[in-house]
């Protein structure tokens, strides 16, 4: 299985990732997570805007997927804490996210994620988080 197929398999196995409709593309070891817009993602129907919880969940899933790509974890890492910053309202468009692993220690990984829509330079939300990673042995 290519790393790209492996990533797709990981995402397809997670019911909640399927529910949101998350896909992912790989360029080398850099992954871009893709969240196509769907009616069920709307939080505020007036604007309309994507639910803040959806963006948080999407970025959290991006971090977990990037960790599985880079670290090849046997088990899913566990989330310890996340901080989400909301920068712009999520418009009814496809949302993208990319994660940067800042550090992986023996037990803890620190990951930053940014999500954007039309312009990479104008992110709609950012996330920083700590994850419990377990040795692959």
């Amino acid at each position: 299985m290519t790393p790209s197929e492996q990533l797709q398999t990981v995402l397809e196995r997670i019911p909640y990732a399927r529910f949101l409709g998350i896909r992912a593309e790989l360029a080398g070891d850099e992954m871009t997570a893709i969240l196509p817009f769907g009616e069920h993602l709307i939080g505020n129907p007036m604007l309309p805007a994507i639910h803040g919880g959806v963006l948080g969940a999407f970025m959290e899933m991006t971090a977990l997927a990037q960790l599985s790509v880079s670290e090849g974890q046997a088990r899913q890492p566990r989330v310890i804490d996340i901080t989400i910053e909301y920068l712009r309202s999520g418009r009814p468009l496809t949302t993208y996210a990319r994660a940067q692993i800042k550090k992986v220690g023996r037990r803890i990984a620190n990951v930053h994620v940014e999500a954007w829509q039309e312009q990479r330079a104008a992110p709609i939300a950012a996330m920083r988080g700590h994850f419990l990673v377990t040795p692959t042995t």
Partner: protein
Amino acid sequence: MDIMRQALGAMNQGSPHARALGIETISIGPEGSVLRAPYKPEMVGDPDTGVIAGGVVTALLDHACGQAVHTALEQFTTIATLDLRIDYMRPAEPGKDIFARAHCYKATRSVAFVRAVAYDTDPDDPVAAAQAAFMLDSSAGRGFGANLKPAKKPVKGRS
């Protein structure tokens, strides 16, 4: 209080994502709001254990914090999450509904501060805890359908 309860119920129904998750408001009051997200197979984050996805807890906490702001304010105003910090203390028990209790402990003219916990059985044995800040009157000058209009800055290659 009953009118408030009805309004919040309508808000849950009116928010497509809250409806998709099946989020319900259980109680509201000065001590905060309690909301529930029922356990559903499609909410699972770890297929090996059946534990609900952290993202579901995130969405429920965000929604609960927002409702706590609405109940704490005397007049209805539009709000937007500025930041949300979540600590995950333990995995939720597979098969159990998740509850969130949120309390808006301070609101200034422009910002509201909220604390919340998510739990499956006992609020004193939480699954996760959250701290959030909300901007008040967030859609000032932006009316119905504002997000359907093109972005202010023109985007290359966009007609």
